[in-house]
Amino acid sequence: MTSRLMIVDDSNTIRNHIARLMVDSRLPGIEIVGLAGDGRKAVEMAGRTRPDYITMDLTMPHMDGEACIGEIAKLLPDARILVVSALSDKATALRAIAKGAHGFVHKPFSDETMIQSLLELMS
């Protein structure tokens, strides 16, 4: 059974970094089903690709992560969402998790932290 992963971040570098990390780490059965650069696109893509797991930035154009998490949680109640954001604003992160996310990883993150967190998310 494959785990479908979607990566949402307005930074192209971060998106590609997480995607590359998933390929390089050879975690079994992870399929990257989408990369989205803003909240609106993320909601649209989530509806289309129905991911099981999502990494989610908070500050993004068009629709911020908090609103995006709310939308996706309604759309895909079983999807697990990992917030990936700078730690400077804990309050926003807490609100985002209350909206329907499952965990939090702060930027900048080490490769190991990201892999461990995704494994924890999938457990």
Binding site: L94, H102, L121, S123
Partner: protein
């Protein structure tokens, strides 16, 4: 649930068996009693029948005797006949009942006895029947019956007695046996009851002991553990079990049942409290992965402000939260909170940071001094210290009055600005920073026209602080001097190599550009530099830093601005020292930046309030441009370490005048600016 049930039966099997046995025995006793009472009734009836047989035998004999007497006397015989008939019938009935019951009980001896009775009774019964029914019985028959009755009566009585006795003793025997059995059953019931009581008490005592041991262990843990430990439930209420250490480290009181966040409310900021409420809420949410939100814990390191602790050092606590799951409840039942006092750790970290900062500053100072020729640094220090001491002296001796105060402040400003420029050129950043702070103090004073004596106190303090920074550099130079065998001889410091100066200036240019986030390429061109007069050397040493700072801060645009203007992102600053044909020495600093826009300058002159609009309108371009050399005039929009005070070119202008040089300025807006300082012995 299934396993729970099986362990329940396993643990209490003996008790359940004892209770079962007790019930069985109790029911048996009741059944026994019932059987016994039925048997007693039967035995009673049989004894009664046997007794009746005896009595009726006697009654029968008496009736025959009466009949015989009445017949002989010629009296009425009906009564006796009736009595005879009655007793005979009753006896038959009693006999039949006894027989039935004896057969039912299958008592052989009794049956034999009854058979014997029957044998003696039957002939008598036959005769009496013939007598009792006739209206006038035959005298002979009556006599025969009497004779028979007399003959059999004693025997019948005897047999009836024996029967009675036999039944009675059998009944007594049975009653005794039943009593023994009953006593045994009661004893058994009592035994099982006692077992139940004993077992229950023993179980209770054992579980009490286990509970007591567990309680004692918990208490040992709670009194020994070096953490504040307690539970909070879903409603946020604090549990009854708290570790003793909690009282030591937690400044407020946290009684059982109190609401944790309410207790916390008076000790932390509202924002932290709000975040803590949200965070604890998340921990009770089954969806959230606790390991993945640990970094969001707002109480991981929190400064506790307790009113009664004013004056004491700040207390830092670290709260950690672990969800507690329970069998009885779905999801998270409670959250275990562990609190640790990290004040010492925080203090240590701060101290380390300070030490690192000190060593960084010390190291950077050391590196700066090492990068420069110690003699040059020595010269700089001597000059700056002399100037600052002069300031102190003048502050002490100044005559009261706003005019003289303002003049002094302006003079001090120029000295401090020169010191800052030289320090920056030597990469002595700590001095540069301190001089910059001094400038800030001075520029706020410069704007005022109502200066008073006490305003100068701040100037004296800042002078002291700048001297302090200089003395730190002096300390390092002296140390190095000691190692180098006194190389920091001041008298030889004037002979700094021109190439060394240029390297320094190049470094300064790049450092200023990096500070302002600009990209700059520096080119230098030096020709025929063997013999330079002191005046020109001074222009290089004091004027050049101002010129390059000016070029980078004001001339060169930001990378974006340059790209938009169609230039390369990297700006260019060219420094040239050349000797003209007529022996004129020239220092040129050229940048390919935004140039000087006369129109813009006119607007600034009006905005700054220095000139009226009509005055500016009447000025020629040349006159407008010349204003940039006036004190306090700057084209920069905001103030930083490198620009905005309007001092640099003012200082340059004074220097040019003092050395007898000439200044030339060529600029095209959006294209370039060139400053040329010319000096010749003839001038």
């Amino acid at each position: 649930m299934k396993s729970n049930r099986s362990t329940f039966f396993g643990r209490y099997r003996a008790l359940l068996l004892a209770i079962g046995l007790f019930f069985l025995v109790a029911v048996s006793i009741f059944a026994f009693n019932y059987g016994l009472s039925v048997q007693l009734a039967i035995d009673g009836a049989r004894v009664k029948d046997a007794g009746a047989i005896r009595g009726l035998t006697q009654q029968h004999a008496k009736a025959i005797l009466s009949l015989s007497h009445e017949l002989a006397a010629g009296d009425m015989i009906q009564t006796s006949q009736a009595q005879l008939s009655e007793s005979s019938l009753a006896l038959e009935e009693a006999l039949a009942r006894s027989l039935t019951s004896a057969k039912a009980a299958n008592v052989v001896s009794e049956l034999e006895l009854l058979a014997k009775f029957e044998k003696f009774w039957r002939p008598l019964a036959e005769i009496s029947k013939s007598v009792e029914r006739r209206e006038h019985p035959d005298q002979v028959d009556v006599q025969l019956a009497l004779t028979k009755s007399n003959a059999n009566n004693v025997r019948l009585m005897q047999l009836a007695d024996d029967l009675t006795q036999m039944i009675e003793s059998a009944a007594a025997e049975r009653t005794r046996n039943l009593g023994t059995m009953q006593a045994a059953a009661i004893a058994l019931a009592l035994a099982s009851f006692l077992f139940i009581v004993f077992y229950t008490l023993r179980s209770l005592r054992r579980s009490d002991r286990v509970a007591e041991l567990a309680r004692a262990e918990t208490e040992q843990i709670m009194t020994t553990v070096r953490e504040g430990l307690f539970l909070i439930d879903r409603a946020g209420a604090v549990g009854s079990q708290r570790s003793m250490h909690l009282e030591k480290i937690f400044p407020g009181s946290m009684p059982p049942g109190a609401e944790f966040l309410q207790v916390l409310a008076s000790l932390v900021s509202d924002e932290t409290l709000k975040s803590a409420r949200e965070y604890i809420g998340l921990l009770f949410n089954k969806r959230v992965k606790v390991a993945l939100v640990k970094s969001l814990n707002p109480l991981q390191r929190v400064e506790i402000t307790a009113d009664e602790q004013q004056g004491k050092p700040a207390v830092y606590l670290s709260f950690d939260f672990h969800p507690v799951f329970s069998d009885q409840q779905e999801g998270v039942a409670a959250v275990l909170v562990s609190v640790v006092d990290i004040s010492q750790q925080v203090a240590l970290e701060r101290e380390l940071e300070r030490a690192e900062e000190r060593s960084r500053t010390g190291m950077s100072l050391l590196v700066s001094v090492l990068e420069n020729d110690p003699r040059v640094v020595g010269t700089f220090l001597a000059g700056a210290e002399a100037s600052l001491k002069e300031i102190n002296e003048e502050l002490r001796l100044i005559k009261a009055g706003p005019g003289s105060y303002n003049m002094l402040i302006n003079r001090i400003f120029r000295i401090v600005h020169t010191t800052k420029g030289e320090a920056a050129a030597l990469a002595l950043h700590t001095v540069t920073r301190q001089a910059h702070l001094f400038e800030e103090t001075l520029s706020s004073l410069r704007k005022r026209l109502d200066l008073r004596g006490e305003d100068l106190i701040a100037v004296a303090t800042s002078t002291g602080e700048l001297l302090e920074e200089l003395s730190k550099v002096r300390g390092i130079v002296d140390h190095l001097g000691a190692y180098a065998g006194g190389r920091t001889d001041e008298s030889s410091a004037t002979g700094e190599d021109i190439h060394h100066t240029m390297q320094r200036i190049q470094r300064l240019t790049l450092a200023v550009a990096a500070d302002l986030g600009k990209r700059v390429r520096v080119e230098t061109s030096l020709t025929d530099m063997d013999t330079l007069p002191d005046a020109f050397r001074r222009l290089l040493k004091e004027g050049l830093p101002q010129l390059v700072r000016n070029a980078v801060a004001h001339g060169i645009e930001s990378g974006n601005e340059r790209l938009q203007a169609g230039k390369t992102a990297e700006g260019s600053v060219r420094i040239e020292v050349r000797r003209g044909e007529t022996g004129v020495l020239e220092l040129e600093v050229a940048d390919d930046g935004r140039g000087i826009d006369a129109g813009e300058l006119r607007r600034k002159l009006v905005d700054s309030g220095r000139y009226q609009e009509h005055e500016v309108a009447a000025m020629t371009v040349r006159e407008v441009i010349a204003t940039i050399f006036q004190p306090g005039m700057s084209t920069a929009d905001d103030v930083n370490e490198h620009a905005g005070r309007g001092v640099g070119l003012d200082v340059l202008y004074s220097l040019v005048r003092e050395t007898g040089a000439r200044i030339k300025l060529v600029s095209t807006p959006s294209s370039f600016t060139r400053f040329i300082l010319q000096w010749s012995p003839a001038l």
